[in-house]
């Protein structure tokens, strides 16, 4: 922050020697203090950083990308390729900010970039002397060998030398918003043409949105038109017309959708509390009017990049809008009549004009008059050979029509190579601009649906007379085409010599137009130059099309509020509060946050905790929230018929109050999902899916019904969120439940056997569903209650089970027990396995059609050589198995051709007291008892294991039927 004393001193030190006494739409009563490269300066409200720097006589603003050439301010808009600075500091530091659009605020801090160690003395300017190396294609030629040098030596070196400013490297402290808007007419650009279009639309009663990238409406008319304020006042009177200032429409998308970014608080020191820094607008417009104006082209001659060389339109703008003299003595070099305005502006500002230089042999009387009125000597049929000076222009050398060289002193060179309609947005949906000889520029070709173009963006210029000049013959020194990427006229010639004449090749070989400015001042000059040296027309040479974004967009704006935890919703289970109180450690499971395990005081080792939880379930009883499994309520006369078609196994004989395991395939024959479905009524079923696939399976069922079998009378609704479901597992689970299930319900083994289900009440009248399902292999139940009661149910169960030492268990213990029981889960249901691979071929019914039946019958899918589910037990029982290890014949070399499968899931089995694993192995089921090598190159594991049946624990299933 600036201190009070700094304010005073700065005001004294900063007399703004280049500020004009009057004029401009700045507020001379409102000083704004700012810091550039550590020094404090003064500007006014209404300035940009660029205009304030110019007012203070600062002309050297940065160094160029490749050659570290001194650079100043070329433009007065968002097309600026030179004056790029790091704005702000700390976490808000933003590199490559254009000084020409950065609105000045009190306390603004900016630092020049690409210079080492300082702006005025840059050691890397030596790159300029090495330019034969850095010429077009230098990446491809110079740094080729040895290849290993690229990553470690060449790239870091080039990055340091080139660099594009430094990113903050800290989390973005600001917030961003997204907003959607609808309108009849979207007007893009708030200059004369845009204001006229918006007024016309508003007068006819249309809902209008007018977006302008500037912070003041009016475009080039700002400070130049007396009636502008009236028209803006009329605009503001329409209630259905929304004006978005500081808003850049950066992209056009299908269906009349436009992307825009509003810089809500970039003109403030920092956003107000809860104020977004930027807002991303998605605008859906029935029609749009593109009124983005035109962008001026530089001229290509020697040292045309030196600070003090400025586009002629920018010169007018600094004078008329900002009340700043960009120099004290000017030379004007142009090939078109539009420059008359700049000559008039220089005259208004009493800036001496030493010469007007024009390559045309004949110029109009009006233009000649405008030049002589400033006292300029007029040179026609002439050109500028080079600028003179080092860190700023001190003079020029002119090549007059009659030969020789005229040397003139000046500190400002206003140049104009003609104007390009800013038609970028017209080509976002593949529109192809067309060349217009009359104005020597591309004009919009085919337009996005609903778009019209008006004003200069359509090529409608006030003074269209121009004669293209793509390069000055006889120029000396580097003549830049692309200022931001340091591409010179010689680079374009080199590209031609080496055969890269197509526009797309030219662009990629030289990097012309590939900087963050997307070549807005460079592309047409590059194209014109290539056309000239290949002696082709512009049409034959081609055109470039544009992609979004029109100007760079911060990723933060596109992300909006969706970052960090808000990137996707986090779903909490109904028992989350209870689990938190029980000291649970949580894990992300899909979009859910689930309890992974429940450490007791003093327990630090997860394996120890999980082992305790498993042991408690196996010996007594435990509870685990299983709400996250997808639950789909299925009803209708044809529900059973429908289940027959989506599951591989049979469903027509499932009795009321019974559940069944079901397997689903994709239509290509691979396993998609599994789960149980319970018949709750004659025509009423409840399906469960895996946690991960809940949404996908619901979508699949709707697809099957709506698209494949619309004749079936069946409907679905997801009830995952409606029911809390808790597993109660272990030999004492029935006794635990007995004390909370209302006494009139019989839950004995006879009434509620394994795979049975009952609708009943608990805790004196609460509606519940009790399923006798077991994932753990023990006598077990899943109890479902309306979701709001889930947390209370967990507490009730803990009380009911207290006499048995009831233990909460998490997803880890759940996983250990399913591996002990050999149940395939996510690691095995990986989208690449078949029913045959998982030992479930018997679930493929031969009696009916089902999704995936035909393709599952492909011989390769049942080839016994396919890796098939097996269990693994380490030969040395102390060895630890690792998931992901490869399975190889013992003694075989560890190479891909000997690979026979891999380990999918492992767990330490508290029941067997050693590690167990599941894996997929070629010919697996016929190799039980064989010893195999388990090779884990990632973690240096190499051990032997015995191939066993995948069910390690209670293979007869006695316990779960108890």
């Amino acid at each position: 922050m600036l201190q009070k004393t700094d304010h005073f001193d700065a005001a004294q030190r900063s007399p703004q020697p280049f500020r004009l006494p009057t004029g401009g739409v700045i507020d001379r009563g409102e000083a704004r203090l700012f810091v550039f490269d550590g020094k404090t300066y003064r500007g006014y409200a209404g300035d940009t950083l660029a205009s304030a720097l110019l007012a203070n006589g600062i002309r050297l603003v940065g160094r160029s990308f490749k050659y570290h050439r001194p650079r100043g301010i070329l433009t007065a808009g968002s097309e600026e390729p030179n004056a790029l600075v790091e704005l702000r500091d700390g976490a808000r530091r933003e590199p490559n900010t254009k000084a020409t659009v950065a609105e000045l605020y009190d306390g603004l801090q900016a630092t020049s970039q690409h210079r080492f160690p300082s702006l005025k003395f840059d050691l890397l300017e030596v790159n300029s002397l090495l330019s034969p190396i850095f010429a077009a294609g230098f990446y491809y030629k110079t740094f080729m060998w040895p290849a290993s040098f690229w990553e470690k030596i060449y790239e870091p070196l080039i990055r340091r030398a080139a660099g594009l400013g430094r990113a903050a490297g800290l989390p973005d402290p600001d917030i961003y918003e997204k907003s959607t808007a609808f309108c009849d007419v979207l007007v893009i650009g708030g200059g004369e043409a845009g204001i006229a279009a918006a007024l016309q639309a508003a007068r006819s009663g249309s809902r209008v949105i007018l977006c302008d990238e500037d912070f003041v409406l009016g475009g080039r008319a700002i400070g130049e038109s007396a009636s502008l304020a009236e028209r803006i006042a009329e605009l503001q009177a329409y209630p259905e017309l929304k004006i978005l200032r500081r808003t850049t429409v950066f992209g056009v998308y299908d269906g009349g959708t436009y992307g825009a970014v509003e810089r809500v608080a970039d003109h403030l020191l920092k956003p107000a509390p809860h104020q977004p820094r930027q807002r991303y607008w998605k605008i859906i417009a029935k029609t749009s009017v593109l009124a983005t104006g035109a962008t001026e082209r530089p001229l290509v001659f020697g040292n045309n990049d030196r600070p003090g060389a400025m586009l002629s339109g920018a010169v007018s703008r600094y004078i008329h809008r900002f009340g700043v003299a960009p120099g004290k003595k000017a030379v004007v070099f142009a090939n078109n009549d539009e420059v008359a305005g700049t000559l008039a502006a220089l005259r208004d500002a009493n800036i001496a004009v030493a010469a007007y230089v024009d390559p045309r042999a004949e110029i109009s009387a009006a233009l000649r008059q405008a030049a002589t009125a400033c006292g300029a000597t007029v040179y026609t049929g002439a050109a500028i050979k080079t600028t003179l000076g080092r860190l700023a222009v001190t003079g020029v050398e002119i090549i007059p029509a009659d030969g020789g060289v005229v040397k003139l002193d000046c500190d400002l060179l206003a140049m104009s190579g003609g104007w390009n309609p800013a038609l970028q947005l017209t080509s976002h949906l593949d529109g192809k601009p067309v060349w217009d000889e009359k104005i020597a520029a591309f004009i919009p070709g085919s337009l996005p649906p609903g778009m019209q173009v008006t004003g200069a963006a359509a090529g409608d210029f006030t003074n269209p007379a121009t004669q293209p000049l793509w390069q000055v013959r006889g120029a000396t020194g580097k003549a830049f085409v692309d200022f931001q990427n340091d591409v010179t006229a010689n680079d374009v010639k080199l590209a031609k010599q080496e055969g890269f004449t197509s526009v797309e090749h030219l662009k990629r070989y030289t990097t012309l137009g590939m900087a963050t400015d997307q070549g807005r001042t460079a592309n047409v000059n590059g194209l014109g130059l290539m056309a000239e040296i290949t002696a082709k027309s512009i049409e034959q040479t081609g055109t470039t099309r544009f992609r979004p974004p029109y100007t760079p967009v911060a990723l933060g704006a596109l992300a909006g509020a969706h970052r960090g935890q808000h990137f996707k919703p986090r779903r909490l289970t109904p028992t989350h509060q209870w689990a938190t109180a029980k000291n649970a450690v949580f894990v992300d499971a899909g979009m859910w946050l689930r309890a992974q395990y429940f450490p007791k005081p003093g327990e630090t080792d997860w394996l120890q905790i999980v082992t305790r939880e498993v042991t408690a379930v196996r010996n007594n009883v435990g509870i685990c929230d299983v709400t996250t499994l997808g639950k789909i309520d299925i009803q209708g006369r044809d529900a059973a018929k429908f289940l027959e078609r989506v599951y591989t196994n049979g469903w027509d004989n499932l009795k009321l109050g019974r559940a069944r395991y079901g397997l689903m395939l994709r239509e290509d024959g691979f396993v998609m999902d599994d789960g149980t479905t319970t018949r709750l009524g004659d025509t009423h079923y409840l399906m469960t899916t895996t946690t991960a696939n809940a949404g996908k399976i619901f979508q699949h069922l709707e697809f099957c019904h709506q698209w494949l079998w619309p004749e079936l009378d069946v409907r679905f609704i997801s009830v995952t969120d409606q029911w809390a479901q808790i597993a109660i597992a272990g030999p004492n689970s029935r006794d635990t439940l007995r004390s909370i299930v209302d006494p009139q319900f019989d839950i004995s083994n006879e009434t509620l056997p394994y795979m049975g289900a009952q609708e009943l009440t608990i805790c004196d009248g609460l509606r519940a569903r009790l399923f006798r399902l077991s994932f753990s292999g023990e006598l077990a139940y899943e109890l479902a209650v309306p979701a709001g009661f889930g947390n209370a149910l967990a507490q009730k169960l803990m009380q009911a089970g207290e006499p048995f030492g009831i233990t909460p268990y998490g997803t880890e213990a759940l996983g250990v027990m399913r591996i002990e029981k050999g149940h395939p889960a996510g690691n095995e249901l990986n989208g690449q396995t078949t029913a045959h691979d998982l030992g479930m071929a018997k679930l493929l019914s031969q009696k009916k059609d089902f999704i995936g039946r035909a393709m599952a019958a492909r011989p390769a899918l049942t080839d016994p050589n396919r890796p098939t589910l097996i269990g693994l037990r380490p030969v040395n029982r102390a060895d630890r198995l690792r998931a992901g290890s490869h399975l190889l014949p013992p003694g075989a070399e560890a190479v891909a051709k000997n690979d026979q499968g891999f380990v999918t899931s492992v767990a330490y089995s508290p029941s067997l007291l050693h590690w167990v694993g599941l894996g997929l192995l070629a010919h697996g089921p016929s190799r039980l008892g064989e010893i195999i090598r388990v090779y884990d190159p990632v973690r240096n594991g190499d051990l032997l294991a015995e191939i066993v049946h995948p069910v390690f624990y209670d293979p007869e299933g006695v316990r779960l039927r108890g």
Partner: protein, 94 residues
């Protein structure tokens, strides 16, 4: 892209999930085996330069499956129908 859902009106394409070709029909041979008709249905897809019929699912809306007729060159949508209506019409004996 904007899709005019018959139930929900015109909505942004980010609300929809794309499925694919709506011109292929599931063989009605009871899943007889991996014959040519099944291979065509599961794997073979046209990529016409012009109008195409595609299945979209209004995942963040009414859960309807839709048949969208769309020009693959311009993304212009010519027609949106309920997949269920199209499927029922297809089943009627012609």
């Amino acid at each position: 892209m904007r899709i005019n859902c018959p139930y929900c009106g015109e909505r942004g394409s980010e609300e929809f999930a794309y499925h694919g070709d709506a011109t292929v029909t599931r063989p009605r041979d009871g899943g007889a085996g991996p014959n040519a008709a099944w291979i065509d249905y599961v794997y073979l897809r046209e990529n016409p330069s012009g109008l195409h019929r595609e299945l979209w699912y209004h995942a963040s809306g009414c859960q309807s499956w839709l048949v969208v007729t769309r020009d693959l060159r311009t993304h212009a949508i010519a027609r949106v129908e309920l997949a269920r209506s199209v499927a029922l019409a297809r089943m009627e004996p012609s």
